[in-house]
Every structure is written in structure tokens, then in C-alpha cells.
């Protein structure tokens, strides 16, 4: 028996390597199938993961409120006080408004007294709870305090990139930066924010983490100085937990509907948890799309395998006739073809796997700017399917022809 198997191996290898063109063409189908499936599925999976990471870095349990009153009155204090009253459900509340350019003054330009300028940072109006609400941590100096807010202090906390740009290696704490014509004292610098991967590709080339590091936060009460009488309309509330989020949303809804006259104002509440949930839904959607992509590329590879195998069927059938005529038994011929198909498929599979890994790495670097590797189930699945297809079509002539009378197999054309 062992002898029979080694014989079959010998003949299989002889047959494979004396038909190099056939071998290469068959392997090509398998390689294409496996490589394309692995690369495509991995890239989409990687993208999903980056998206999820981004949402998580944004901070779950974050609730964004957009509200304006027809009267033009600022609701910041009212909302702040209301949220403080919910202190077992709410971790923090902050305006999330920006300072706009006004009257030709470049409020969106920061400059130091050394004339180091930095254009278009995002100057955010925040409360003492800004960093809690937006998942920022202080790297140097201190955060904005309630007193800063209460006393209209012209102080600023800089995002890591802004600090780096304006002050290079100098300690920025205590230095002055000018927003438009107004001097602000730097009291702190935020820790750099960034996920494990670059998400710019997810947002139309916009570097979202970078954007979070190009921030400068001032006490919201200086709004009067920077924005004139424009009320702040955007807020962020940080709920204590995922479960609390919905309750807080309900409460805020009740509070705001009482505060804002429907006909003469507007409010909108939106939670990052919803974004994550919708991204989960998107994930499921993506999985379906992925399944489709994987199916199609496997089909293409499979058709390639099938074609080359079927093209050679009559040639191989004649060969089987010859083998039978000189003493090959049905079993030994099937065994030989089985080994032949398995060896070709495994070799093609390994090459496909390697190309798939290489392709995934390259695509990950180019598209997602991250080190992306295919998952094990994906690799095994793609490989298993292609190998199975190759085996089926490789064995087909053997199973069909080895049962014929030798003379019938010899007549094949």
C-alpha cells in the first residue's frame, strides 16, 4: 500500500513537472483567486476596524447637542447648570463652538509675539469640562478651570500639533499667543491624539486625528470677545455610561423642548453611540458586500482553474487510457491525479497566500497607512476553497475516465 502511494507520488510529480505550462496555468487560477480574495477582504476589514477605532477614540457616550433660540439668547449657562444637576448620569458638558472670522479680523490665526503664525487652527470655545467631553488629556500645564470660564480669562489650551508648530521645543506654558488681536496666555497643552491607524482615507483624505491635534481651546465666555454677540449653538455632553446615554438624551430632549420654542428655534441631539451602532450596521452591510466580493473573485479564480483543467480533459483522458493499457489500475490512476491536483493546488495556494499577505500589507500601507494583515480564518477559507475547486476539477478526468474501458479512454478527442 505504501509502495502504491509512493508510486502515485512519483508519477504525480513526474506528470506535474513535465507539463509545466499546464501546471503554471492551473496554479495561476488558484493564485489569482486566493490573492484577490485575501487582499480585498482584508482591506475592507481593516477599513472597518479603523472606522470603529476612530469612533471609539471620539469617545463613546458622547452626546452632541445643536440648539439655537430664535431670541438669539445664549443657552450655554442654562444647559451647563441643567447637566450639573444630572451629575450621576453626566460626566461633563461643554460648548463645542468655534471662533469665526469677523470684521476682517483673522480670529482663526494664532500668532506668538515672535511672529510665529499658525493659520486655521480650530479655536474651540470650551467649558472646564471640554477635555472630559472630548477625551483629551493634559500633557503639560493645566486645563481650563471653572474660574477661567467665570472670569472671562484670556487663556488657551493648545493641541499638541499647534503647540509644536508655534513653540517648537520651547515650553509654551505662560507664553502669549494672539487670536486676532487678543492676547491669550497658554496654560496647557493637550496630549497628542491618534489611533493605531491613519484614518484620513476614511474621510475623503481628511486627517481626522490630525484635526483633533490642531485645536486651541479657550473658555467659552470669551465668545463675546471673539464672536460678538453670536450665541453658541453646539454643545457636547458626556454621559456617564453607555446605558446612561439614552436616558440623558431623553432628559435633554425634555429640557430643550421646554427651553426652545419649536416655532422660533431648533434643537437636535445626536450621540456618538448611535454612530457606532450605525457603523456596526455598516459593518454587517460590509460583510455582505465582502462576501459578494470574495465570492466573485473566488468564482473568477475557480473558472480559471476549471477552464485549464477542462481544456486538458481529453488529453488527460487519452493519457489515462494509455496508463490503463500498460497496467495502471483505476485506484492508482485516481490516486495519482488526486496527488497531482493536491500538489498543484497547495503550491498555488501557498503562492496565493504569500501574495495575498504581501498585497494586503502593501494595500494597507497605501490605502489605510497601517500595518494590515489578513485574518487567519480568511486565509484558510480562501485557500481551502481554491484548493477544493482545484481538486474537484483536477480529479474530474480521472474519475470520469478511469472507469471507462481503456479503449474508450484511448479514443477520447
Amino acid at each position: 500500500m505504501i509502495k502504491k502511494i509512493t508510486q502515485a507520488f512519483k508519477m504525480a510529480f513526474k506528470s506535474i513537472f513535465s507539463n509545466k505550462v499546464r501546471m503554471v496555468l492551473t496554479m495561476l487560477g488558484i493564485i489569482i483567486g486566493i490573492t484577490s480574495v485575501i487582499v480585498m477582504v482584508s482591506v475592507v476589514q481593516g477599513q472597518n476596524k479603523a472606522l470603529k477605532e476612530y469612533y471609539e477614540s471620539m469617545g463613546t457616550n458622547q452626546i452632541n447637542v445643536y440648539a439655537w433660540q430664535g431670541s438669539g439668547r445664549d443657552i450655554t449657562m442654562k444647559l451647563y447648570d441643567y447637566c450639573l444637576g444630572l451629575d450621576d448620569l453626566v460626566l461633563g458638558v461643554t460648548p463645542n463652538g468655534y471662533a469665526w472670522s469677523q470684521n476682517g479680523i483673522k480670529y482663526r490665526t494664532l500668532s506668538t509675539n515672535n511672529n510665529q503664525e499658525y493659520g486655521s487652527p480650530q479655536i474651540s470655545l470650551g467649558s472646564d469640562q471640554f477635555s472630559v467631553c472630548n477625551n483629551f488629556t493634559i500633557a503639560k500645564g493645566r486645563d481650563i478651570s471653572w474660574l477661567d470660564v467665570k472670569n472671562y480669562k484670556q487663556v488657551v489650551v493648545l493641541g499638541s500639533k499647534v503647540a509644536e508648530y508655534l513653540f517648537q521645543y520651547k515650553n509654551p506654558i505662560g507664553e502669549t499667543v494672539n487670536i486676532g488681536n487678543y492676547p491669550f496666555t497658554v496654560i496647557g497643552v493637550y496630549e497628542a491624539k491618534g489611533g493605531s491607524s491613519d484614518t484620513s482615507s476614511l474621510f475623503g483624505g481628511y486627517d481626522i486625528y490630525g484635526y483633533m491635534n490642531y485645536i486651541a481651546v479657550v473658555p467659552y465666555t470669551v465668545n463675546r470677545l471673539l464672536n460678538g454677540n453670536q450665541p453658541i449653538e453646539q454643545f457636547t455632553v458626556k454621559a456617564a455610561s453607555k446605558e446612561a446615554t439614552n436616558e440623558v438624551i431623553t432628559k435633554l430632549d425634555g429640557f430643550l423642548s421646554g427651553l426652545i420654542d419649536n416655532k422660533n428655534g431648533y434643537y437636535y441631539i445626536y450621540s456618538a453611540n448611535q454612530a457606532i451602532e450605525s457603523s456596526d450596521a455598516q459593518n454587517r452591510m460590509m460583510s455582505l458586500v465582502l462576501g459578494g466580493i470574495a465570492g466573485i473573485s473566488l468564482l473568477v479564480g475557480g473558472i480559471g482553474i476549471m477552464n485549464i483543467m477542462l481544456v486538458t480533459v481529453s488529453e488527460r483522458t487519452r493519457e489515462i487510457g494509455i496508463r490503463k493499457a500498460i497496467g495502471g489500475s483505476r485506484k492508482s490512476i485516481i490516486l495519482q491525479f488526486l496527488i497531482e491536483a493536491a500538489v498543484i493546488c497547495l503550491m498555488g495556494g501557498l503562492v496565493g497566500l504569500m501574495l495575498g499577505y504581501a498585497g494586503t500589507l502593501i494595500a494597507g500601507k497605501l490605502l489605510l497607512k497601517t500595518t494590515l494583515l489578513p485574518s487567519v480564518p480568511l486565509s484558510l477559507g480562501a485557500m481551502g476553497f481554491s484548493v477544493l475547486l482545484g481538486m474537484i476539477f483536477g480529479l474530474y478526468p480521472a474519475i470520469k475516465a478511469s472507469g471507462l474501458q481503456p479503449v474508450e479512454a484511448l479514443r477520447a478527442d
Partner: protein, 232 residues
């Protein structure tokens, strides 16, 4: 000593249909060991069909075939492949070499199926190639050889396992008369050494070199006897 006994054998294609063909229509014959038999007859008369059945490449529709005293109809695939491997060597008009394998590998193939070990196999393969005078062409692929050379490789393959019976279906049909005679000479040499030869041919000159002639017409034997009386 009877090697082949055929009793009332029929090979009928599409039996019962309008296009029924009786390729063999009640053939009985016996062939002894060591004979050199030529089967002749018009095209389509059933020569190849007869030889394929004798060589266990095909099965009769009706009738009994005993090979070396064994009833062939009862043999398993394994037993039949063993017989085709050890007892019978085939030589076809179209050579039927495996084109991807070189001469050596083609001749070696039946020895691999026989299970001969590597070192012994080399000797036997080379001996068979020497017998047909092709030891210096061992590395050549069929496509790199002349028709006569390919047919000699096929003969080497047929005798590699020491088969005591060779069935040749128009082995010279694709060759010119000179190389045809060379091939025929090899077959006669084998016959002198005791190998039974069954040879199908169109060529009466070649048939005339056999001791016994079987003439077939429309699937029936119309003459079976000595060369001298066959009128060749």
C-alpha cells in the same frame, strides 16, 4: 498450450437500434503460446475490435474469453490491470506514448505500475530500450523522435515488464516501408524468443511473414490457417 480461447464472441454497438453495428459477429478462435498471428481484413471489418478484446482493453457484448485458462469476464479491475501490465504488451498504430514524458520515462511507466524498485527498474528500462536499439534516445521526448523511433519506444514499453504476448494494431501503419520492416524485424526477434505476437495489418507483405493468418470480414472470421494456404 492454449493462451487464448475465444468462444462465440460478439461486439455489438447500439444493439437494438437502427444504427446497430456488429463489429464482431460470433468469433471463436484459439491461439497457442509462441504463435505469430497476423489478423487481416478490410477497413471496418472488426480487426481492432477483436484485438482490443483479446488485450483486455475492451469487453465483448456476448461470448466467453479465457486468457491463460482464466475466464476474463470474472476478473476485477485490479486483476485486469495486472494482466495488461505483466502479460500483454500493446503497440498501437498511433504509438500512444505520453507526450510529456521522455522515452525512458515512457518505458519505465509499466515497471512503476508493476512495483519494480528504482535500481532494478533502471536496468530493465535500459534493457528494453537496447532491445529496440534506442538506448541513446532515452532522454528524448516523443516529439523529438521519428515515427519509427516512437514506435520502437512503444515496443520497448510493451516488452519492459517481460510480457509474453504482444498485440500490435497496425504498428507499421504510420511508418514508411523501411522503418516498418525494422519494426517488424523486432517483433519477429521477440517471437523467436518465445513471445506470442498478434499483429494486425493491412499490408499483405507484412502479413505474409506470420505463420498463421486470420482473415476477418464483417466481424466474422472467414479464414484461419497457415500462411501458405491464405493465398498471400
Amino acid at each position: 498450450m492454449k493462451l487464448i480461447e475465444l468462444y462465440d464472441v460478439y461486439k455489438i454497438y447500439n444493439e437494438g437500434y437502427e444504427n446497430e453495428v456488429r463489429a464482431l459477429d460470433g468469433v471463436s478462435l484459439t491461439i497457442d503460446r509462441g504463435e505469430f498471428v497476423a489478423i487481416i481484413g478490410a477497413s471496418g471489418s472488426g480487426k481492432s475490435t477483436l484485438m482490443n478484446i483479446l488485450g483486455c482493453l475492451d469487453v465483448p457484448t456476448y461470448g466467453d474469453y479465457y486468457l491463460d485458462g482464466e475466464y476474463v469476464g470474472d476478473l476485477t479491475d485490479r486483476q485486469l490491470s495486472r494482466i495488461r501490465n505483466r502479460e500483454i504488451g500493446f503497440v498501437f498504430q498511433g504509438f500512444n506514448l505520453i507526450s510529456a514524458l521522455n522515452a525512458y520515462e515512457n518505458v519505465e511507466l509499466p515497471l512503476i505500475y508493476l512495483g519494480v524498485g528504482a535500481s532494478k527498474r533502471y536496468g530493465m528500462t535500459m534493457a528494453a530500450l537496447e532491445r529496440v536499439g534506442l538506448e541513446d534516445r532515452a532522454e528524448h521526448k516523443p516529439s523529438e523522435m521519428s515515427g519509427g523511433q516512437q514506435q520502437r519506444v512503444a515496443i520497448a514499453r510493451a516488452i519492459a515488464t517481460g510480457a509474453n504476448m504482444i498485440m500490435a494494431d497496425e504498428p507499421t501503419g504510420a511508418l514508411d516501408s523501411k522503418t516498418g520492416r525494422q519494426v517488424l524485424e523486432i517483433l519477429h526477434g521477440l517471437n523467436r524468443d518465445g513471445t506470442t505476437i498478434i499483429l494486425i495489418t493491412h499490408d499483405s507483405q507484412i502479413a505474409a511473414t506470420a505463420n498463421r493468418i486470420i482473415r476477418i470480414s464483417d466481424g466474422r472470421i472467414i479464414y484461419d490457417g497457415a500462411r501458405e494456404a491464405a493465398g498471400l
